[in-house]
Amino acid sequence: MDQKPFSQGLLSSEADSQRTLYPYVTGTSVVALKYKDGILMAADMGGSYGSTLRYKSVERMKSIGKHSLLGASGELSDFQEILRYLDELILYDNMWDDGNSLGPKEVHSYLTRVMYNRRNKFNPLWSSLVLGGVKNGEKYLGMVSMIGVHFEDNHVATGFGNHLARPILREEWHENLSFEDGVKLLEKCMRVLLYRDRSAVNKLQIAKITEEGVTVSQPYSLKTFWGFSAFSNPTVGAEGSW
C-alpha cells in the first residue's frame, strides 16, 4: 500500500497518493429535464475503465430522501462516497422528525459546498452531479461540477451530454412537457450520445421524480439504425480502400 505507482516517478511526494489525481472507473453523460409533473433524468449503465467498457450494470442515479434524485458521471467511487455523505445528511434530517425536511434546493447547495471545499484542498471528488427534485409543487433541477461550479436550469447534462444533448434540448424543450414527450426527448438525446460517445453503452435507465416520489425504470436498450447506404458499401467513393 505504501508503494508509489512506478509512473509517478521517484521524486513525487507521498502526499500525492492521498489525493485524487485522475479518475479510474467512470460513468458517462447524465441528461435531465423538467416536465409537467416533475423531473426526468436518464443515464446509461456503463462504467468504463479507461477505454474499456468494463461494467455494464452500474446504477448512476439514486433517490435522496423523499424529494430528490441524484445522477452522477465521472469517477464512480466518488459517486458512492457522495451517496454516503448524503445518506448521513438525510439520516440526521429524518431524526429531527419535526415536519421539516431537506428539499432538492438544500441538497444541491450542500453538495456544492462539499465539491467546492474538496476542490480547494486540491482533492476533488471527480464527479459531475445532477440533482433534481420536487417539493411542495416546486420543481428543481441543478448541476454541480467537480470544481464546485453550480447552477439551476430547465434542462442539464454532464460530460458529453453538454455538447451533444443540450443543443437538442435548447431547440425542443418547452414548459409543461407531458411524460411521454419528455421521455421521447430524453431518448432522442441518449440515442445521439449512444452513436457518438464512445463510452456510452446501450443499456439505460430513465428516472422520474414527482411530488409523489421517485421511480427508476428497469434497464432497457434503445433501437439503433445502422442501415445507411454508406455503411453497406463504404468504399464506393475510394476504390481499393477498406
Binding site: 429531527w96 419535526d98 415536519g99 421539516n100 425536511s101 431537506l102 428539499g103 434546493k105 438544500e106 444541491h108 447547495s109 450542500y110 459546498r113
Partner: protein, 272 residues
C-alpha cells in the same frame, strides 16, 4: 430559597435531586424586566418592557433579530442574552450559507437548549442567567418557544417571563384559545395589553415598551416607536374595548377595570 450546603457548585446535586445553581439562574430570569410572546397560525408577536435605568441613559436592548424569520426577546442577564443571540445568528447564517434555506426555528431552539445544558454539567462553567423567548417560522408555520437556563425548552401559544409576568400570564390564560386564528393586528393589541398588565398601573407608552413581529410573508422586524404609540392610542381611545370573551363568567379585577373606563370614555388609566 435559602442558602444551603449544596448550592456552591453547579455540579453538586442536593439530596432532593435538585441543582440549586440552575434554580438560582432561573431566579435571575424572574428579576429581569418582562418579556411577552404570543402566536397565531401565521404570525408571532414579541413585546417587552424596556425601562432605562435613568433618564440620562439609553434603554437596554431586549429584542434581537436573529434572521429574517427568527427573533428573540430576553429577560435576565442581558449580557448573557447578547452572547446567545450572537450564537443564534451565527448558526442561522451558517445554515443559510450551506443549504441556501432558512434554519427551521425548532432546530435552532434545540441547539440553543443543548448549549445551555452544557453549562449545567461543567464545574468550571455557570448556567446562562437569561430566559429567551424565541419566535420564528418553519415549514409548519409560526412558533413561539421559551428557552430556560436549565437547558429545557417548551413551545407555547403565549407566554410571559420576567418580573410581574404573572399578571400578563393571567391575561393570556384567559385569551389564548382565540390566538390561533387572530389577525396580526389583534395579536399585537393583545401583546400590548399584556405588557400593560405587568406595569401595575403605570401608563403604557411606546417609550417604555418594544414590540416586534414576524409572520409568513413578513420578515422579523421591530416596530418603530410611532407605530407602537399609535397602536396604544388606538385601543386606549376606544376604551380598551376587548373583543368578547366566550366565557364571561370571570369577575376578575382586570376585566372589571377594563369595562369601567369604557363607560367613562377617555378616563384616567386604570388603577389597581
Amino acid at each position: 430559597m435559602f442558602r444551603n450546603q449544596y448550592d456552591t457548585d453547579v455540579t453538586t446535586w442536593s439530596p432532593a435531586g435538585r441543582l440549586f445553581q440552575v434554580e438560582y439562574a432561573m431566579e435571575a430570569v424572574k428579576q429581569g424586566s418582562a418579556a411577552i410572546g404570543l402566536r397565531s397560525k401565521t404570525h408571532v408577536v414579541l413585546a417587552c418592557v424596556n425601562k432605562a435605568s435613568s433618564e440620562l441613559s439609553s434603554h437596554q436592548k431586549k429584542i434581537f433579530k436573529v434572521d429574517d424569520h427568527i427573533g428573540v426577546a430576553i429577560a435576565g442577564l442581558t449580557a448573557d442574552g447578547r452572547v446567545l443571540s450572537r450564537y443564534m445568528r451565527n448558526e442561522c447564517i451558517n445554515y443559510s450559507f450551506t443549504y441556501e434555506s432558512p434554519l427551521p426555528v425548532g432546530r435552532l431552539v434545540v441547539q440553543l437548549a443543548d448549549k445551555a445544558q452544557v453549562c449545567t454539567q461543567r464545574s468550571w462553567k455557570r448556567p446562562y442567567g437569561v430566559g429567551l423567548l424565541v419566535v420564528g417560522l418553519d415549514e409548519l408555520g409560526a412558533h413561539l418557544y421559551y428557552n430556560c437556563p436549565s437547558g429545557n425548552y417548551f413551545e407555547y401559544q403565549a407566554f410571559a417571563i420576567g418580573s410581574r409576568s404573572q399578571a400578563a400570564k393571567t391575561y393570556l390564560e384567559r385569551r389564548f384559545e382565540n390566538f390561533t386564528d387572530s389577525s396580526r393586528e389583534d395579536l399585537i393589541k393583545d401583546a400590548l395589553i399584556s405588557v400593560r398588565e405587568t406595569l401595575q398601573g403605570e401608563k403604557l407608552k411606546s417609550s417604555i415598551c418594544t414590540v416586534a413581529v414576524v409572520g409568513i410573508g413578513e420578515a422579523f422586524h421591530i416596530l418603530d416607536q410611532e407605530t407602537v404609540q399609535q397602536l396604544i392610542d388606538a385601543f386606549e381611545i376606544v376604551g380598551e374595548d376587548e373583543p368578547p370573551v366566550p366565557e364571561v363568567g370571570d369577575a376578575e379585577a382586570d376585566q372589571g377595570e377594563a369595562a369601567a373606563p369604557a363607560a367613562e370614555e377617555g378616563a384616567a388609566p386604570m388603577d389597581i
